[in-house]
Amino acid sequence: MTVTGRLVALVALGVVPVVLIGEFYDRALEALLAWIVLVVVLVVIDLVAAASPRRLGVDRTLPARVRLGDTATSTLYLTNTGRRMLRAVVRDAWQPSAGASTARLPVTIPAGERRALTLTLTPFRRGERRTERITVRSLGPLGLAARQATLTAPGRIRVLPPFNARKHLPSRLARLRELDGRASVMIRGQGTEFDSLREYVRGDDVRSIDWRATARHSDVMVRTWRPERDRRVVIVIDTGRTQAARIDDEPRIDTAFESALLLAALATRAGDRVDVILYDRRLRGRVHGASGPELLSRMVDVMAPIDPDLIEMDWTAVPGLVRQGTTQRSLVVLATAIDSPGISRELMAIVPQLTRDHTVVVSSVTDPDVTAGVHHRGDREEVYRAAAAERALLDAARVTTVLKRFGADVITGSPAELPPALADRYIALKAAGRL
């Protein structure tokens, strides 16, 4: 049970009879006692007359998924199974980061009827947000006291990665279509795979005229080319401890997710097959054999609940994982952090195994704080800071040099730049026929 502000006011109002009666008859104490008895009686009446908060049927409707930053509507259906009118305040106990619009919902339900309580959720953290119970505070007719009970009513909503990088998708797709020769530009498509022969039209690149075919036909024939299709892209996302660090108020792993989503969206439109592996010391998640819109929805679903574990990434298992997925030559993207030779030793050790069979791209987020720190040299502190920043850049550069020597491609960029940079590299590789 609990009391309301009205009861507090009622108790305070006891001053009036105490002063009035006490002034004349010196009976203030008796007046006080009488007032207390009155208040207690009223509270008891209120409690007895309040509807039971336990006699409730609870139902929820809730979207299963919401993209981070978007708003979902959660509806709670309460059925009053008791015999009295329920006047109550209901608290739906969502986790704080679910971003519920309000914590307390007033409701009045006549006996035997059902009411819907709606609240909006604007989660501000990725992952699984849940609520386990609701608490019902049933007020009595006088509004002095209330009966309170907590009911089990589990609900959960999966908050998907925001995929803000999707704004880069249209421009990249346009370039992909250019590549494909499907766009109405009169240059030779830069594809490398023979597609078909067709009649020459004015404006075609004369270099693509197939003279042998022209000899067989009565018309001038040109070859058309298209980019390679049905290649494999394997994205390996490191979920180890280095991915937990925040750069520009975004954990590295979120940037890795953004890059992976943009690349996958692009690759699946280009007709390539995409595998995603999330790994640290165990397989945290895997998307295999999906394509088109299903691929992206499965990817965000797998990624949503994954947070970096505070353990070291085990790179030695990665070549095995890649091999499990495909035997043909693929583009392997390793989304990780390139910090210093000490931390990246294992990565450097396995890259040669991968580059032997595959095209390898290592993507890493660079810290804009560090790159900016290099040029701020106002006072003593800043000079030392610049020196430390130079040192950090040098460490990263040493790893990059080693990786490049082993035949891997390295892409770095700030959290905002990395996803489009990776997409551009993919398009460049595709154009060059290196997949």
Partner: protein, 405 residues
């Protein structure tokens, strides 16, 4: 009517369950409160009574022994602390009662004292225990204080008063009294004088007053628990006080005091304390209102927030604390050289001499000077570190300005 849906599972235990679970503690608290109440009420009075001649005082200066013995002898001892109480007790006994009067603090005013004497004149026997001069003046006729009694351990009765005769001797009295002057001696020949204390003064004087008597008793110690058993003290006081069925033991209290300045307590209206109680209760109610939790606390695992640049900042602080200017300048130089190499389109493996030469070509500075900035000079202080750091920046800017993009 539709089928009623199943009720949700309630987590909050019912009141009955809660009570059962906490039965032990509830019982323990109730027992403790009962025990405390019992202890308070079983000890005769909450506050110990330390007043002299009080019948509730069992200590050395009290008179509980005398009162108890009188009660055993069938005397109805009535304690009175106000004039009204004393008067009504005397009236209840039909006017014929013993009155013991002791007012060491002088609470009673003249009118009050006259009223007490009027009781004696109405037929009561009034015993004044160690009266002061004010009391003597208004309650006894022609008797005055004669100061402290002479220093004798025992005093003989020396009079015909039955109680005094039975006592024979009493222990040393505190005060002596005498008749005021010769005139009085003549007019108050009916005053019985006992226990002479020398110099024509006595410790016990009794004179008739209307239908009753007034007795002045200087030997107050005879009443106390400490001394009542000495000599004939007991016989004297029992004889003096046990003359009637009822004895009113009147010690004026604070209520009889009709003082000029009322205290703060008297000035405050009666409702002040109850209003404070109301406010206290309001505070408690407000505490419950605001403090009651709306269901259990929700638990959520939060991510650790670590900025990636923390390692860089930490390293910078380490450099600064150690004043590692040499190491810091090295780091700055390596960064600058690698940027210059890129800017001047030199091969990655170009050595510093080559870079210096190219930079000198590009900027028009001397090779030695450039080499000095890039590698040669060793900083000896932090001032030089700052100096070289600035020169490195200038060099980079110049190269950037002179290199066509």
């Amino acid at each position: 009517m539709s089928i009623a849906p199943a009720e949700a599972i309630t987590e909050t235990p019912r009141l009955r369950t809660t009570l059962r679970r906490r039965l032990f503690w509830i019982a323990a608290i109730v027992l403790a409160i009962l025990g405390a109440l019992f202890t308070v009420f079983s000890s005769a009075s909450g506050i110990p009574d330390g007043e002299r001649f009080s019948i509730g005082n069992a200590g050395a200066t009290g008179s509980r022994a005398v009162a108890e013995v009188l009660r055993q002898q069938g005397v109805d001892v009535v304690e009175a602390t106000t004039l009204d109480e004393a008067r009504s007790a005397v009236e209840e006994a039909g006017g014929r009662a013993g009155i013991l009067f002791s007012d060491a603090s002088g609470y009673l005013d003249d009118d009050g004292r006259d009223a007490v004497r009027a009781l004696a004149e109405g037929g009561a026997d009034l015993v004044l225990v160690e009266p002061g001069s004010d009391e003597l003046e208004s309650m006894a006729d022609g008797i005055a204080n004669a100061g402290a009694a002479a220093d004798d351990s025992t005093v003989g009765a020396g009079c015909a008063l039955p109680a005094a005769e039975r006592a024979g001797t009493i222990s040393q009295p505190s005060w002596a009294y005498r008749l005021l002057d010769a005139d009085a001696e003549a007019t108050r020949a009916d005053t019985v004088r006992c226990f002479p204390a020398g110099d024509d003064s006595y410790s016990l004087l009794q004179q008739p007053a209307g239908a009753g008597t007034v007795t002045v008793l200087g030997a107050g110690d005879a009443l106390t628990n400490d001394s009542v058993a000495l000599q004939g003290n007991a016989a004297l006081v029992l004889g003096l006080l046990g003359t009637h069925e009822t004895l009113v033991w009147y010690q004026p209290g604070y209520e009889d005091f009709d003082g000029a300045t009322p205290t703060l307590g008297e000035l405050t209206p009666g409702w002040v304390t109850p209003v404070i109680l109301v406010l206290l209760l309001t505070t408690v109610a407000a505490g419950i209102w605001r403090g009651r939790r709306f269901g259990p606390v929700v638990v959520e695992n939060l991510p650790v927030t670590v900025r990636a640049s923390e390692t860089m900042e930490g390293r910078a602080r380490l450099y600064a604390r150690q004043s590692a200017h040499g190491r810091a300048l090295d780091a700055l130089r390596i960064g600058t050289i690698s940027r210059l190499t890129t800017a001047l389109n030199l091969p990655r493996y170009a050595d510093v001499v080559e870079v210096s030469r190219s930079v000198a070509n590009s900027t028009g500075r001397g090779v030695d000077e450039v080499y000095d900035i890039l590698v040669g000079a060793v900083p000896r202080s932090e001032r030089e570190l700052l100096d070289y750091s600035d020169r490195l920046l200038v060099l980079e800017q110049q190269v950037a300005a002179n290199t066509p993009r």
